[in-house]
């Protein structure tokens, strides 16, 4: 693109034995130790790791913006050949102005709320010496290059007037404006919907080629990294444990940690398939393991040597490295979990559905006599022992539906919720105890769902006494049984939530939901607040408990892998309406609704393969003023005529119970290729 990129022989980024320590209460905690890596010009490098692995610290250290208590304790970081440790104030500013740019996780916070986008864009060019009007013109042109259709309007807007996806485009435009040698992306899509995430990832990929910038992509999301990066480094407890070309590394990991992570991911197969594997234990506290391999305490291959001798980064060929003494035996890594028994729902003419929703709607009043229909005319049934997956972008009405079922919000008149054939009052406060205890929930975030003032004993015990009506000894016995069912022990009874790990907290939440023989449990993103290695254990636990107790789940998740793994049936929602519902296999493999097709296409896969990518144009319409006809028509890639804008499609089921709200005949609707992941996955069989 420019002379700089072509003439410079030095790599965009070179870290050699970089170590960073934070001082916490007078003690030095090593957050990164001896991290060495190279990113060539124009290359996309992915740095993956779970929370606390030190991956974000890399980005801060190499730009010298560590928090006041952090310092580079050893090694070097060179950006485009310059050692950032040795730069004076002016040279450092110069490097930041020219050579390196960063995109943070939350674009809403990265933009100054009281300046217009135009002012903030122009600033970048002004530092480089452009005049006021010139800077503004170039800023506007840059917004065009990140595919913003109306740059003039966006330039005049304040950040809060833009959607999340649009804000992230602006941040990316600001970053690329200086034509940097290195672009750092730190979890750039974490808060965004899958469809928007796909757009942003596509955009970064295209722009990377246009600008020739090297990319350092930091993420916990293996699939997102796989879809964007040439090479990948895996960080664990501040050490780079494995490195190599993305495809090869994910297809054939040479470190037991990487292998374990991949086996934890729900990737292929449907409900009834093999259980997910997990990685036992917890990541170590920084600095707590001074001898041997940092992964040894959790490793299924560990031998005595691993506990005494720290492995070097072995060269395992093809440009790959692994910090494992037994990198050639990773395929022998034993499974850490056994397959749980899988329960299939009872169906048939004689089986009454446990839950029946008829014509549920929910209207919220807004000031100024306006209404929002958060949910519109949803009818569905749930069989005993069945899992119904609920998918859709934010604002699609998934959570509203869950709240109506639970009675936390009251549905509009005209709808009905029946449990075992009996109609329920709309509000939980009016429902009889038997109905309250029958419908429970597992929340997304256990930190929020468990009252931090109470002990585990109180948290579960109170639910048992209120819902099961037990007291005294009977209650205590039930509490212990529940704890054991979720693989905790009575030793945890007196603990407060903050003394437990994330996975343990979620187990307590699961135990509480099962306090009094529930019939239906709403699982609201039950694993999205957890790291991958912990997530699989919770998913296995849910499967196992369903098998034992014959409970039905309503599973809300944005992770299609999780939905695929657990669900018997899947419902797809958009703008408060059901767009499609049917058996999991039929919905996922098709023929399916164009919206479902787009959602599936947006989800990145860990093999890095991109099928026919379908991208949705435009913003999600406001539910205050939904489109006429088919509500999806404004974004639909398959829109074929005026009927889409005037008439709402019928929603009728075929004999499998598969219903699609689309005017197109089934023969013309899209299908997904057979599970594309099967070939490369080792945890699952197709």
């Amino acid at each position: 693109m420019t002379d700089r990129n072509q003439s410079a022989a030095s790599p965009a980024l070179e870290l050699s034995r970089l170590s960073v320590a934070y001082t916490v209460r007078g003690r030095d905690l090593p957050v990164l130790s001896d991290v060495s890596l190279r990113i060539e010009r124009g290359e996309a490098y992915g740095l993956v790791g779970e929370s606390g692995s030190g991956k974000s610290t890399v980005a801060l250290a190499l730009q010298r913006v560590l928090p006041p208590n952090g310092r580079i304790s050893g090694g070097h970081a060179r950006v485009a050949g310059q050692d950032v440790m040795e730069l004076g104030a002016a040279a450092l500013r110069n490097m930041r102005a020219n050579d390196v740019a960063m995109v943070f996780q939350d674009p809403g916070k990265a933009l100054n709320p009281s300046l217009t986008v135009g002012r903030q864009m122009a600033e970048v060019y002004e530092i480089l010496g452009a005049s006021g009007t010139d800077a503004k013109d170039r800023g506007e042109a840059m917004l065009g290059r990140v595919r913003i259709s109306d740059p003039t309007r966006v330039m005049a807007s304040f950040p809060h007037q833009l959607s999340g996806g649009m804000q992230q485009r602006v941040v990316i435009a600001m970053a690329l404006a200086k034509d940097p040698a290195l672009l750092i992306l730190d979890e750039p899509t974490t808060g965004l919907d899958a469809t928007i995430e796909a757009e942003v990832l596509d955009l970064v990929d295209t722009l990377r080629q246009e600008f020739g910038a090297a990319v350092l992509f930091i993420s916990h999301n293996l699939a997102a990294v796989a879809s964007l990066c040439n090479r990948v480094g895996v960080l664990y407890a501040g050490k780079l444990v494995e490195e190599g070309p993305a495809r090869a590394l994910f297809a054939d990991p040479r470190h037991p940690y990487t292998a374990g992570l991949l086996r934890c991911l729900p990737r292929a197969g449907f409900k009834g398939g093999p259980a997910l594997d997990n990685i036992p234990g917890f990541p170590p506290v920084p600095g707590s393991i001074t001898e041997g391999c940092v992964f040894a305490p959790r490793c299924g291959l560990a031998e005595d040597r691993c506990r005494t001798e720290a492995p070097p980064l072995y060269d395992v060929g093809n440009g790959r490295g692994s910090r494992c003494h037994f990198h050639d035996r990773v395929d022998d890594l034993p499974r850490m979990s056994e397959a749980p028994p899988v329960n299939l729902p009872e169906r048939g003419p004689n089986v009454e559905p446990v839950l029946r929703l008829e014509h549920l709607s929910k209207t919220y009043k807004l000031p100024g006599n306006r209404n929002v229909q958060a949910l519109r005319d949803v009818s569905l049934t749930l069989d005993p022992g069945e899992t119904l997956g609920l998918v859709g972008e934010s604002g699609s009405g998934k959570s509203t539906l869950a709240n109506l079922v639970l009675g936390l919000a009251e549905h509009d008149a005209g709808g009905a919720i029946s449990l075992d054939g009996t109609k329920l009052p709309a509000s939980v406060h009016q429902r009889p105890r038997a109905a309250v205890k029958a419908i429970q929930i597992i929340f997304q975030n256990p930190d929020s769902a468990l009252n931090r003032a109470h002990s585990v004993k109180y948290l579960i015990g109170r639910a048992v006494s209120r819902l099961a009506g037990l007291a005294g000894k009977a209650r205590d016995e039930r509490v212990v049984k529940l704890l054991e069912a979720v693989r905790l022990t009575p030793r945890q009874l007196p603990a407060k939530p903050r003394q437990l790990s994330g996975g343990m907290k979620q187990r307590v939440a699961v135990a509480r939901a099962f306090a009094a023989d529930p019939r239906v449990i709403v699982c609201d993103e039950p694993t999205s607040a957890l790291d991958v290695s912990v997530q699989s254990a919770v998913l296995n636990l849910l499967t196992e408990l369903q098998g034992e107790r014959h409970v039905s789940y309503i599973l809300i998740s944005h992770d299609l892998g999780v939905v695929r793994h657990l669900s018997d049936r899947i419902a797809v929602m958009y703008l408060g309406r059901l767009m499609e519902i049917g058996p999991a296999r039929s919905v996922l493999e098709g023929p399916h609704h164009p919206y479902t097709e787009a959602l599936l296409s947006a989800a990145p896969t860990v093999t890095g393969e991109r099928g026919t990518r379908i991208r949705l144009e435009g913003q999600i319409p406001s539910p205050v003023d939904p489109p006429t006809g088919c509500v999806f028509n404004t974004r639909c890639p398959r829109k074929f005529g005026p009927i889409c804008e005037t008439e709402e499609p019928a929603f009728t089921a075929d004999d499998e119970g598969h219903a699609i709200r689309c005017h197109l005949p089934r023969g013309k609707l899209g299908r997904s290729p057979a599970p594309e992941l099967a070939a490369a996955s080792q945890g699952g069989a197709a």
Partner: protein, 292 residues
């Protein structure tokens, strides 16, 4: 599923809890808190026991020794009617340290209840009570207190009730904000889903989580209660003569300040200042420790 996974997870130590040091331990290392606590304890001790050990009866006048400067007999001199200033200052802690904590307690308890109700129920309850609070806060505290005390006549119990009531909206505002940030956490709907009523959710679920801001607010309020009550006494609407109360002593004697009789006023001002600063240092120390 895996017994193996279960046991492995139990044997591995979970990451250490977030708080490595307990709140008392942090407080014990905070110099500001320790100085503040020492000052407050000193005056509390004087309030309780000074009458037993001061050299003179703080109320006994001696018309032969009026306005005598500090001396061996009268360490801090005597006032306009010959009372011993040293004895009066030590005993003078008594009224303020009885009235101010009681007023604070009243304001904190009422404010907590009002704040919990506003934050938990929201809607029109919150809107109406919020409007009333705004009305109360749009008149300076001291003026509201003055108005009521004029109407009802100054007495110790009236001062306690008035200051307590005037503080109620301030505490309520803090508690309401704390409740609102708890209200959106999922443990609240979780409690509804096991059939808990509003009282249980407010007092058993939410209240234990908002103690820290309430404690800090109460300590801050105590400082302002001392401030307000001393000012009322100074204006003649608080503690009544012949009490050796500091605000009252200053009001009685500041007229002779220009004449050079500084010792009649300075000890009481230093005492008042030290007490409010001491309470405030304790409040600040608590706030920092609880935030850590």
């Amino acid at each position: 599923m895996s017994a193996a996974a279960g046991t492995a997870e139990e044997s591995a130590a979970p990451p250490p809890p977030q708080k490595a040091r307990s709140t008392p331990a942090i407080l014990m290392r905070s110099p500001g808190f320790l100085v503040g606590a020492a000052i407050v304890l000193f005056w509390a001790f004087c309030a309780a026991f000074a009458p037993h050990f001061v050299p003179y009866d703080p109320l006994a006048d001696d018309l032969l020794e009026t306005l005598s400067p500090p001396s061996a007999a009268h360490w801090f001199g005597t006032d306009q009617i010959g009372r011993d200033v040293f004895s009066r200052v030590l005993v003078g802690a008594r009224d303020i340290l009885t009235i101010a904590p009681l007023a604070t307690l009243l304001g904190t308890v009422l404010g907590t209840v009002v704040g919990l109700v506003m934050g938990y129920f929201g809607g029109w309850v919150d809107a109406i009570v919020g409007r009333l609070i705004e009305v109360m806060l749009s008149l300076p505290l001291i003026i509201v207190a003055l108005m009521v005390l004029v109407a009802l006549g100054p007495s110790t119990s009236t001062v306690i009730v008035v200051v307590g009531l005037v503080f109620t909206p301030l505490v309520a505002r803090t508690v309401r904000a704390a409740v609102l940030s708890e209200r959106h956490l999922d443990y609240v709907p979780a409690a509804s889903l096991r059939g808990e009523g509003a009282l249980h959710i407010m007092f058993v679920e939410i209240l234990p989580n908002i103690w820290p801001p309430i404690i800090v607010e109460a300590t801050v309020r105590l400082g302002y209660a001392i401030f307000t009550i001393a000012s009322l006494s100074f204006l003649g609407f608080g503690v009544q003569p012949p009490s050796p109360d500091w605000g009252l002593a200053i009001a009685e004697n500041y007229g002779v300040l220009v004449g050079g009789f500084w010792w009649t006023v300075v000890p009481a001002t230093v005492a008042t200042a030290s007490l409010v600063v001491g309470v405030n240092l304790v409040a600040e120390g608590l706030q920092r420790a609880l935030a850590e």
